[in-house]
């Protein structure tokens, strides 16, 4: 397996005037292509900050972060934007859909910042929505959809650029347990098809749907283990929460 992400002694601190807040105190791990990893930890453990750095939304203070062997810490803002555009897809807890656009337009949105033609954008977004089971909701406004449907739209949006890795930040946090289960199933299916997935959550049960769990506490890695008894989101699965 080739390496997707290599993090060595990564540190992050925020400076606010004279106050320096250290969030990550040096974390080291690798993630291979095709992995399904959960990053777990309580509030304040630094898991969100870590995800932001891995997702090219934030920069590290010290250490090394290689993405597909490329040193990310040296990249300019525009290059980071291009990496976000071509390499990764985000799924957020709050869905972050544009309510005044249609479902289809929402899914097409990442392609606006690429050179893909409008015709192909529509085709790809349509097929993506069909894949997540929302082919009949193309013209709907997101605020007419249920929470689970919204998150599936968001996943379709994350997939549209055919990214190397999907970051899911508490994707089930705002969902009822049944919808949450559907979302986890979708993520597991995607992983089966070869997509790398990094899931950020504070719930052990949700985290156990991944193949590997990295636990963070107070800015350091507490444990990094394969999931021995993996939860599979199917009809036999216990509902989430």
């Amino acid at each position: 397996m080739s390496k997707l992400i290599e993090v060595k002694n990564l540190k992050k601190q925020f400076e606010n005037g004279d106050v320096i807040t250290k969030i990550l105190h040096g974390v080291t791990f690798d993630i291979d292509k095709g992995e399904f990893v959960s990053i777990m930890g309580p509030s304040g453990s630094g898991k969100s900050t870590l995800m932001h750095i891995l997702g090219f939304l934030d920069t590290l203070s010290e250490g090394q972060f290689l993405f597909e062997g490329r040193d990310v810490s040296k990249l300019e803002d525009d290059e980071l934007a291009d990496m976000r555009s071509s390499k990764i897809g985000f799924v957020f807890q709050a869905f972050n859909l544009l309510n005044r656009s249609t479902t289809l337009e929402n899914v097409m949105l990442p392609l606006l910042y690429t050179k893909v033609s409008k015709k192909e954008r529509i085709e790809r977004a349509t097929s993506m929505l069909e894949q997540v089971g929302l082919g009949h909701r193309l013209d709907y406004s997101p605020n007419k959809l249920s929470g689970g449907e919204k998150q599936r739209v968001a996943i379709a949006r994350a997939l549209i650029n055919n990214p190397d890795v999907i970051f899911a930040d508490e994707p089930t946090g705002n969902l009822d347990s049944k919808s949450g289960l559907q979302v986890m199933k979708l993520l597991q299916d995607l992983n089966e098809k070869g997509h790398s997935i990094i899931l950020v959550t504070h719930e052990t049960y949700t985290a156990e749907h991944a193949k590997r769990i990295i636990r963070l506490k107070d800015g350091v890695i507490e444990s990094d283990k394969q999931v021995l008894k993996r939860q599979i989101a199917d009809n036999n699965d216990t509902l989430l929460k």
């Binding site: 985000f90 606006l112 910042y113 409008k118």
Partner: protein
């Protein structure tokens, strides 16, 4: 995403909240409308004034007694009486001046009681030469104008303007009748045809007598108030002016033009002076109208700043999915430009409609009003409204592009 698509997207966002977008662009609408109206009404008024001056004859040259600055008022206009200009000067110009000078009319003016039978009015009268009818390009309705013989011999003949004839004689035939100017009797030999109002004075309220009669019998002077000379074509005016100046200097034994005791003015000079004044006025009015454009611009900026604030989460999302800062800037800039451009178009339409209405109204009042709406002023208005969108949109757009993606995503 190309330019056209960005524009369509901006358009969608703008029509999403129609009332708000309209109120936002109202400042631009009013500003552009005001500028268009001021420009077209200004140009219309200017052409009205210039046409009136032109109707006096653009190939006419006026000679006034007394020196003056080239662009300043002549001394006589300031009430200074200069007595150096004489009948012989006029004759000399006609005899030895540029061949392009077709006619020389000389004038003295006075004011007296004019009586015909029981009717009596107080009126200005003009003592002039027989060439008047040629130089001023007019004609008699009845009878004839007085002759050169009568001009020289102080003949007691009078030619009435159409209006004066009506006042003194009503509908009756005036030819052959006798009128009294002051204490001197004159025979009516002609009536000038009706000319209407032109060049700020009623051409019909006039009384013409031979210049020598006016000088000797009524005024007791031997100088002229002014002369007018007709040049064959407008192109020869400059040449004619030069020759007139030369002859008058010889006549008056003047060495340098510093010592001139006369001023020669062409209608072209007058037009220039009037144009420069009306241009300045027009510019001033446009500048004031443009102020409302600036106010409108700040209105746009205000709303765009609010929009950026309102759409913080959207901006965060767009950044997270790969938008470069420049693309965010562009998105918001296009939005403000589409708003101002749209406002500009509406303003142009309203401005043109109102200008047309003003021109129509002016025509109904009997003015020869030209509707002047140039394509350049329309293009300028379009350009300015786009420019305002760019200038006042850049700060909000830059603010949007500089938002922190992570914080924006969490913004509620």
């Amino acid at each position: 995403m190309d330019f056209l698509e960005s524009t369509t997207n901006a358009w969608k966002i703008i029509i999403r909240s129609k009332a708000r977008s309209f109120l936002t662009m109202l400042g631009i609408v009013i500003g552009v409308m005001a500028v268009i109206i001021v420009m077209s009404v200004g140009a219309g008024a200017q052409s009205l004034i210039i046409n009136q001056v032109k109707s006096l004859g653009s190939n006419l040259i006026g000679v006034l007694p007394g020196n003056s600055e080239k662009d300043g008022p002549p001394a006589s206009a300031l009430g200074i009486v200069v007595t150096t200009l004489t009948y012989d000067d006029g004759q000399e110009v006609l005899k030895n001046g540029c061949k392009c000078i077709e006619g020389v009319a000389m004038y003295v003016t006075g004011n007296d009681t004019i009586t015909a039978g029981d009717n009596s009015i107080t009126s200005n009268y003009t003592g002039t030469t027989a060439s008047y009818i040629d130089v001023e390009e007019t004609d008699v309705e009845f009878g004839h104008f007085f002759s050169e013989e009568e001009e020289r011999s102080a003949g007691r003949v009078v030619v009435l303007g159409f209006g004066t004839k009506e006042k003194l004689f009503g509908d009756e035939n005036a030819l052959g009748k006798r009128i009294r100017i002051g204490k001197v009797n004159f025979n009516v030999v002609g009536v000038i045809k009706e000319r209407g109002v032109s060049g700020f004075q009623n051409q019909d309220d006039q009384v013409f007598i031979p210049i020598s009669a006016a000088q000797k019998l009524l005024l007791g002077i031997d100088y002229l108030n002014y002369m007018r000379m007709k040049v064959d074509t407008a192109e020869n005016v400059d040449q004619a002016v030069e020759s007139i100046e030369q002859i008058l200097r010889d006549q008056h034994n003047i060495g340098t033009d510093e010592d001139d005791d006369f001023s020669v003015r062409s209608a072209a000079q007058g037009l220039e002076a009037i144009s420069s004044i009306t241009d300045a006025l027009k510019f001033f009015l446009v500048a004031i109208a443009s102020l409302s454009l600036v106010v409108g611009g700040f209105g746009i900026m205000n709303i765009m700043l609010a929009t950026v604030q309102e759409r913080t989460q959207e901006i965060g999302l767009r950044k997270a999915i790969g938008a470069r800062s420049r693309q965010i800037t562009f998105q918001f800039l296009i939005e403000s430009v589409v708003i101002t451009f749209l406002g500009g178009i509406i303003g142009i339409i309203l401005g043109v409609l109102i200008s047309v209405a003003v021109a129509q109204a002016a025509k109904n009042f009997g003015y020869s009003w030209d509707l002047v709406i140039t394509s350049s002023s329309i293009l300028l208005a379009c350009g300015v409204s786009i420019g305002i969108g760019l200038v006042f949109g850049i700060i909000p757009a830059r603010r949007a592009s500089k938002l922190n993606a992570i914080e924006s995503l969490r913004y509620e």
